[in-house]
């Protein structure tokens, strides 16, 4: 079987997985103890409760509810919020909350990718040196610090930065921004501004709404959210490089006179990436899916917070829609992972006859 038919098969296999996941979601939210009618008008009015149940269609047979639920989701008819913002479509809610989470997730993934992996590779290429110990120790520390704790410490530190960091004032540095609160990302709505009005778009706009302001505002949260992955990828990157560099094909390459630069970039790098692919994609989901804790501490009104509220308030359509989107995201990332595997490793999908 060739690499690409392997990839195609993975693609087709994704369909039953999405169906299965959505079914489980339905069972969890409909068969669990959540009662949306009670959440809307309380338990004091039995008649009202019954009326609301009928209105919402909760009295219909379960199998019919199931089919409605599945068909609605798979046709992207996400329904309306019942509790959090009654009457608003779930789609509109998600669209308004998602950009902040994506902005946060994007930078956390970048930090993990572009700090964690290079650091790990550097440590692996210089094993048992001072800088390796420093990086490895740092990796363990980053890995070990819990999100919520690091988030609180960082907020505390930044709020009092003038007293604690020798007069350095974080809030006023470069562009004035608050320390907590949602990042001002409205500027993304006009991407053309990056070219037509570069100074305003990238830097200024009164410190509110420029690229720089949004980046500065999200930086502490992204650092916190990305820290664990950064530590993980650093440690694994180091191991992967060490394993590859001691392999016989690297020695063979050296024996035929390949320069050390070419050894690292051609022979070591690509092989060392193979074990990192599932780690990167696995963590990418974690970050894009947002973190309730980090979003709460930093006051970022993102998907994590929305999901948490929807679950607490029994907002079934919203909850189901969010779950469905998360499922699509996971499956999508797994497909990306398979694609990366297929591109990097020619042995993928190879079966000896």
């Amino acid at each position: 079987m060739s690499r690409w038919s392997y990839f195609l098969r993975r693609l087709v296999l994704a369909i039953p997985i999405v169906i299965f996941g959505t079914t489980i979601t339905f069972m969890l939210i409909r068969l669990g103890p959540i009662d949306p009618a009670a959440a809307i008008i309380g338990l004091g009015d039995p008649e009202g409760l019954e009326r609301i149940r009928t209105q919402l269609g909760l009295n219909q047979p379960l199998w019919q509810q199931y089919f409605d639920f599945m068909i609605d989701l798979f046709t992207f008819n996400l329904g309306q919020s019942w509790v959090i913002e009654p009457g608003t479509s779930a789609y509109a809610l998600i669209v308004s909350y998602a950009p902040r989470t994506i902005w946060l997730g994007f930078w956390s993934v970048l930090i993990a990718l572009f700090v964690g992996i290079p650091l790990g590779f550097y440590a692996g290429l210089n094993p048992n040196t001072g800088s390796d110990y420093f990086a490895s120790f740092g990796g363990i520390v980053w890995r070990a610090m819990p999100n919520f704790w690091l988030a609180i410490i960082l907020v505390t530190l930044l709020v009092q930065s003038q007293d604690l960091l020798f007069g350095f004032n974080w809030a006023g540095w470069l562009v004035p921004t608050g320390i907590v609160g949602p990042p001002p990302i409205d500027f993304l709505a006009e991407p053309l501004g990056a070219i037509t009005d570069p100074v305003d778009w990238w830097i200024r706009k009164g410190g509110d709404g420029s690229f720089l302001a949004a980046l500065k505002k999200i930086a502490p949260a992204a650092l916190v959210l990305g820290s664990a992955s950064m530590g993980n990828e650093m440690r694994l990157g180091r191991t992967a490089v060490l394993e590859t560099i001691n392999s016989e094909y690297v020695e063979t390459a050296r024996a035929k006179g390949v320069s050390s630069r070419s050894i690292v970039w051609k022979h070591v790098f690509r092989n060392a990436l193979i074990p990192l692919v599932p780690i990167i994609t696995g963590e990418a989901f974690l970050l894009i899916g947002g973190s309730v804790l980090v979003e709460t501490v930093f006051g970022i009104n993102g998907l994590g917070v929305l999901f948490y509220d929807a679950a607490l308030n029994a907002d079934l359509p919203l909850l189901g829609s969010l779950m469905f989107i998360f499922i699509l995201l996971i499956v999508g990332l797994n497909i990306v992972q398979d694609l990366l595997y297929t591109l990097i490793d020619p042995r993928v999908g190879y079966e000896q006859d």
Binding site: S247, E248, E251, R254, A255, K256, G257, P346, R347
Partner: protein
Amino acid sequence: MSSRMLHRDRRRGGPILSVEDLRTAFFTDKETIRAVDGASFEVHKGETVGIVGESGSGKSVTARSIMGLIESPGEVLDGRIRFRDRGTLERFADSFSGKTVDVAGIDDDEHAATAGNDDFVFVEEWSGNDPSGGYVDVTRASPSALRKLRGNGIAMIFQDPLSSLNPVYTVGNQIKEALRLHQGLRGRAATEEAVNLLEAVSIPDAKRRITEYPHQFSGGMRQRAVIAMALACEPEVLICDEPTTALDVTIQAQILELLNGIQEERGLAIVFITHDMGVMAEVADRLNVMYAGEIVETAPIEELFANPKHPYTQGLLESIPGRHPDDDRLRTIEGDVPTPNEPATDCRFAPRCPEAFEECEAVHPVSVPVNEGTNDHTAACLLYPEDESREAAVETHRRRGSNSEVSIDE
């Protein structure tokens, strides 16, 4: 075998590769392991020199020292590895003119003293302004010089063909990499040459094969591809580190035959490392027996098989399966190879030696001719030279051992 006689005739002129008193050690927190401890041997053009010994005897470290592949915590401490190839000499004298030293008319032992710290190209003869004789000392060469020497001057193939090709690049890509580095071929010319090389190592359907990945090759095919890759560098000396150990016996024979053919065709000198005496008998012209970092016996192959002198060699030959068909059990040499972590003050084989006597514990044997008439059969054993009395022989070893005493500063 007639081809073997042919090789013998080619042994005119000096050796193309000579290893003298090579010492390579690995420094760990606990101890210093003297993996190679004073090994000396020579390789002539068109000749196959075998190095045989048990696991841990220092065979592979010797090979890696020659290739300049020893890395921290290992270090080549002492000795000379001289590579005499006129093409390489001219190339290196040209590109490393600042590190070339003129030693014409200077006594061999004085070369190192004449040279500056960084010098590693030694010119002994000039024809006009061009060097026509001399050598490159691998142990002194800089990393960039080593890289130029690797592959092109001396190439190496490794034990496990399954893991010596990079799994994520096509076989063609890896052969072409060597062609680009050493012959400056690129693009279509490189592809054509790669196909030629694969055909030269008897891989059928080479045009298609170069676009395939290593995992699509069988074990024997992979070793052929590795050999093709080594040949792409156009080496003068080919070091084969147990190239057939990981292959099954029928494939083994094919690979040995292939190596023989290539050697005939290109006049390669081959250093062949194995622990398999049977394979050795097939390929080698001369044999060096290695034990605990030292070469304990050296002889032409027929001589060594017919008249093994060192008790260790005798033990090795005795333990070849099938030598004593009537025995119930296979013969072995009792005990293990010791880890050489101290400078030798005794014979390292003495604890396992059936013929050990008192002095073996106190005197370190050096390589001596086994008897007066022979030049090409030496053994490092207090029993030899066998035409001297035991006391005289021991005295010879004691005297020569104290002359060449080398201390290692740690």
